[in-house]
Symmetry: C2
Subunit: 474 residues, 2 copies
């Protein structure tokens, strides 16, 4: 027996049976039934379709009421106007959780849409049934074989994402996949007539499968409960919050998208200050911060050692770091002296930023001999390697090989470093180079080195992770 | 005869003869001689090497003094300590311009380096010879076949770049090449013991081959002359200035890189305010702003119409635009009404941002039927299309084709639009998609649609171009 009581939402993420209301008998490709089967859901699937007896090899039922066994979870893939009746059927059947995928409720702004939503809510509440949605993608949980997108990865991970937007939930999963980051649970919760962001956050705060939580919010229905849920999560794990609609333009868009009152910037500034939640402003930044958290040792300070080639590039990188809230101080004199011994050329900087030695093998050689020196420097806390090898090679045939060699050398050396390490790897626009960069990125992320598209995104993520880790020492 | 007097620097960019001092007789690959021959320089090349009689099929001379004909331009590819003597030879020979490629002067901080630089400067000044450098890459001018990098494109363009950093000059040329943008002249000027940023800017202000000027500066030797040169340029054409070293970290790095006093942020803020020069903070941003200037109709205001898929993505995009100094106001009611007619689905926004219709062909269909409606909207000035089609497709086999179809449809429709148009095209991390995105980017840029990596970079560039164009109405 587990020591702690199971959270009732556990069953929602691991249902033993799922009814699909509005299961298509003709369009199997892309159907919810096919999606669950293909994704590896092993529980009972009940297709509901009054005109079919069998769908995709499974017995179909005219109504939820006709299902012989118990039903944990039902997905409503039907027009909005039909949902109250089906909800009543689900109550009668004793269904525990309903995901209303359908749109066409309060978010479209019509009187009919609003009234349907009110009725739906009332039926569920009176029947003691919990509702996810309406107007949402629902649940992605690789461990239980649940997904709303057939192309999502089946790999399990330790990141949870709670999203008011369905599109953002898809965007983050794919962005993260490209970086080798996977999820425990993703919840797109839509209009939230019942289960809301704070319910999922409270659940995730105690979920052992989740180490990092990210959240996309346009507006809140219950501010105080959200605040307390976020605080509870932050006692145990980092939480990243992308609050969209903080500008006038964004607030207008949010009102149109989810009928949300976006809330004032001052209120949200206070929220971040009070809770210590990590703020993000784009989905790419969310993925970057997750990478930093999952792959870097917690920084003990904000002082960055920059390693790369190109004096001017180093100056710009230093400016970018400071604008992101970091510092690029000079290395300790002893460090500079040691670096000078391995970089004999005139003009190459050793102060910080330090330049990798010139020539084709410069980066590789420096990673091997120079990184340990930088790692031992007492004046800096984090190492940021910008692999701007393209600058010196342009579109030469040997560039892909050089990118590969540099990645191999960095992966090898990274194991021996004690400081947190991050890599900025510029993709470029040339086909051969891009392929090499994609392969190098995969190598680096597999070696647990976070890879960012540039110094700008890297420094933002490092700075935000540093703020979190300095406020939450292990 | 030309109506205006030729600028004396014209000859430096179009020399009739070039002497290479320190021409290698053994390492031909990668040599300055081979570089000029391969790049198409058609003037006379004189290799100088006391130990060779012929290099790469050209007669070699022991000294500049031994060259039979006149010499317009000499490149010093020799150690710093040898440069004063060779400079004296050049004065004796009557060489007009010398590019001192060598490093090892004041920038390394040694007494010897500083003294060599002083002597070099004195000899050149007394001899009436103009010097480019030392410690710099020199000139890239596709029209005359001059280059310092063998992999630079031979295509001529209308952009000039004046750079205190050699690495940055390479980075911008390659970044721009990936976007289909080419150069009239690129000058990496290094320590500037004689010819300095203001000399090149004054020249470029009157250069008919140059329509846009960009500039990378760490520190100035003659502030007032720089200021007046920038003002003169801005009377005729846009000038983008990347002033590096404006933070404490960056200023420290600049001191180490080019021994520059970076100058205070307040002074540079005043500079930008007074001149109207377009500020940039990264090289990617310079390339983005150049794209906006070269490819967009001048915006008549700051109000952006956002077109794409995904409600939450639209909210974030609106926030990003406003943070970049733009606005995303609601469309005129008439526009919304017309859009609703072609987007019948529940939940798709028509207020602004407008969502392209769902499904595989959604983007293509919207570009054809919806863009003309957005183009006619009186409440917005610029159209920003974010082609986040990957969000809805993930890593599906048909995504590359969809990216291609969307790009084709946008290219076709773009010709008919009157408003300035920009595209944000997210690269993604999946090999097949990336290849399709690279191909789509090429199509779009060839159709003169600026392509940015995301809404963030797009909105920054649009905002800065709008500031310039509103202050400089045509």
């Amino acid at each position: 027996m587990p020591a702690k009581a199971a959270n009732p939402l556990d069953r929602m993420f691991h249902p033993e049976s799922i009814a699909i209301v509005g299961a298509s008998a003709t369009n199997l490709e892309g159907s919810w039934v096919r999606r669950l089967i293909n994704f590896g859901y092993t529980g009972q699937i009940y297709p509901i379709n009054p005109k079919a007896t069998e769908i995709d090899g499974l017995k179909a039922y005219p109504s939820v009421r006709d299902i012989p066994g118990p039903v944990d979870y039902a997905i409503f893939n039907i027009p909005a106007r039909l949902t109250p009746q089906i909800m009543a059927d689900c109550v009668a059947k004793g269904v525990r959780y309903v995901h209303v995928f359908a749109a066409g409720f309060s978010e479209i702004g019509t009187e009919e849409g609003k009234q349907t939503e009110v009725r739906l809510k009332q039926i569920a509440k009176e029947g003691g049934l919990r509702v996810l949605g309406p107007n949402c993608m629902g649940i992605y949980c690789p461990a239980s074989g649940m997904t709303f997108n057939p192309d999502f990865p089946k790999e399990k991970g330790k990141v949870a994402f709670v999203s008011q937007s369905g599109a953002e939930s898809m965007r983050l999963v794919f962005l993260a996949q490209d970086l080798g980051i996977y999820f425990s649970k993703v919840i797109s919760y839509g209009n939230a007539i019942d289960l809301d962001a704070h319910d999922f956050l409270e659940y995730l705060s105690g979920d052992d499968e989740t180490e990092v939580i990210a959240c996309y919010i346009e507006g809140l229905h219950q501010g105080p409960r959200f605040l307390s849920a976020i605080k509870r999560c932050l006692q145990r794990k980092p939480v990243i919050v992308l609050k969209a609609g903080l500008t006038e333009s964004g607030a207008g868009a949010a009102a149109s998208h989810t009928a949300s009152l976006a809330g004032s910037k001052a209120v949200w500034d206070a929220f971040f200050k009070q809770t210590g939640a990590i703020p993000a402003s784009t989905m790419d930044e969310v993925a970057d911060i997750v990478q930093a958290i999952q792959r870097m040792v917690a920084p003990k300070g904000r002082r960055v050692a920059i390693v790369g080639r190109g004096g001017g590039i180093g100056v710009i990188a230093a400016d970018i770091c400071e604008r992101a809230g970091l510092k690029v101080p000079p290395f300790h004199p002893e460090t500079q002296k040691k670096l000078l011994e391995i970089i004999p050329e005139a003009g190459a900087g050793v102060r910080n930023p330090v330049e990798t030695t010139l020539g084709m093998g410069g980066a590789v050689d420096f990673y091997r001999r120079g990184l340990p020196i930088v790692d031992a420097d007492p004046a800096t806390d984090v190492i940021l390697v910008h692999m701007a090898i393209d600058v010196y090679g342009g579109h030469t045939p040997d560039l892909p090989q050089r990118v590969t060699d540099a990645a191999d050398a960095l992966c090898e050396k990274a194991k021996t470093l004690r400081k947190p390490l991050a890599a900025a790897l510029f993709t470029g626009g040339h086909a051969d180079t891009i392929m090499a960069v994609v392969a190098a990125r995969e190598k680096l992320t597999k070696a647990s080195i976070p890879v960012f598209t540039g110094v700008e995104s890297a420094s933002r993520a490092i700075s935000k992770f540093a703020s979190y880790s300095l406020a939450h020492p292990q």
